[in-house]
Amino acid sequence: MRPRVASPALAALVVSGLLAVAPAAYAIWSAPGSGTATAGAAAPQPVTMVAGAAPTEALYPTGTPTGDVAVAITNPNPYRVRVATLVLDTGAGAGGFSANAAACGLRFAPVASGWDIPAGATVQVDLRDSLTMAPWAPPSCQGLAVQVFLKAAS
């Protein structure tokens, strides 16, 4: 019969070890496109986003959410990743939008639906009612294809 004190001690050791490794791994994998692997884990590549299929909702100068953003999210990693939230990348383009819409008073509401992207897959995402155009948007804002710069956020 083995000593009874050995098992709890072993369990505590295993738990402590896992708790110590997990945060470290998270800190590494959540960094987009950079960093080094430790404990033998490869750094995850950031997802990429390109214009998706045609948007289904046209945007009008109503001051209310009327437009959608179509985006195709690609996971280059050999494992599934989750995109928790998509926010506007205000540092890109003209405040997050292509320059052709700079005068249109566009606003993007972050979408936190959460999308699981399978390994090596591309998922088409339609962010419905995520865009609002100011009611004072000039007529020159009609009929534009607007690029919306997005970034994933946790």
Partner: protein, 298 residues
Amino acid sequence: MIRRTAFPVVGVVAALLVAAASAAAYWSAAGGGQGIAATGSVGVVAGLNTDVHGTVASASIGFSWSPIAAAVAVTYVVERHATATTVVCTTTATTCTASGLPDGTARYSVTAEINGWVGAQSALTPVIKVASAAPAIGASPASPSAATAPTIDVSASGFGAFRCTLDGAGPVACSPPVALAALAGGALADGRHTFSVAAIDAYGGASQTATVTWTVRTDAPPITAAPPATTAQKSASFTFSHPVYVSFRCKLDGAGWSACTSPAGYSGLAAGAHTFRVEALDGDGIATRVTTATWTIS
């Protein structure tokens, strides 16, 4: 009760749960890129429809059109194009009735708008002429009038159909000359009467209304002085008057009616029974009822 020997198993399970929770966090991905959005545009209304064409009597015209494709509220503006362009309807519906249109020819269009975004103008309608002026009333009774079955002549350029109202009854279809006794269902009674008429176009639209008001008065002129019932006098004199009429016509015995004034005198009369009649004439020469006086010369 958990035996002490189970502690290692519990510990391992707890560790796996913690690890699994941490793994979920590992999958959170970063990255960025660009999506695509599209702004709408205000389309052209396919066409402006109306049930009327040519010349219309009504100053109101109904229009309808098909909505443009837009997922937001659209305002439609209907315009009248003549020497100047004016807005005659603004609505979010797809129908409107433009009222108070001025007389004249014009074409019409509709334009969609979304919060200041203005679409292209629709195709113009064919020319529509509004001729809403009230019909002309020609011959009509004088006022006061002794006529109990007068006719009234009406006319309107471009229209041959009319709708008439007499003393608030109706309106009924009528055609000139309009026989008022037929509208009234019999002779007009003494009193004030009002006749109204509107021209009617091929679509049932009505022009503005022309109205004439007059008074019918048929009471006979009273004789205020006449010979006694029996007299030896070979002459006679009659005094009469009327509250509103100033012309009279008199008749003695079998002679014909002739114009007369008060007092009306006759001389050289034969012995026997005589009858004097007098009636007043209105401005149109229509006679009132007759007052009769009889006497005998002995």
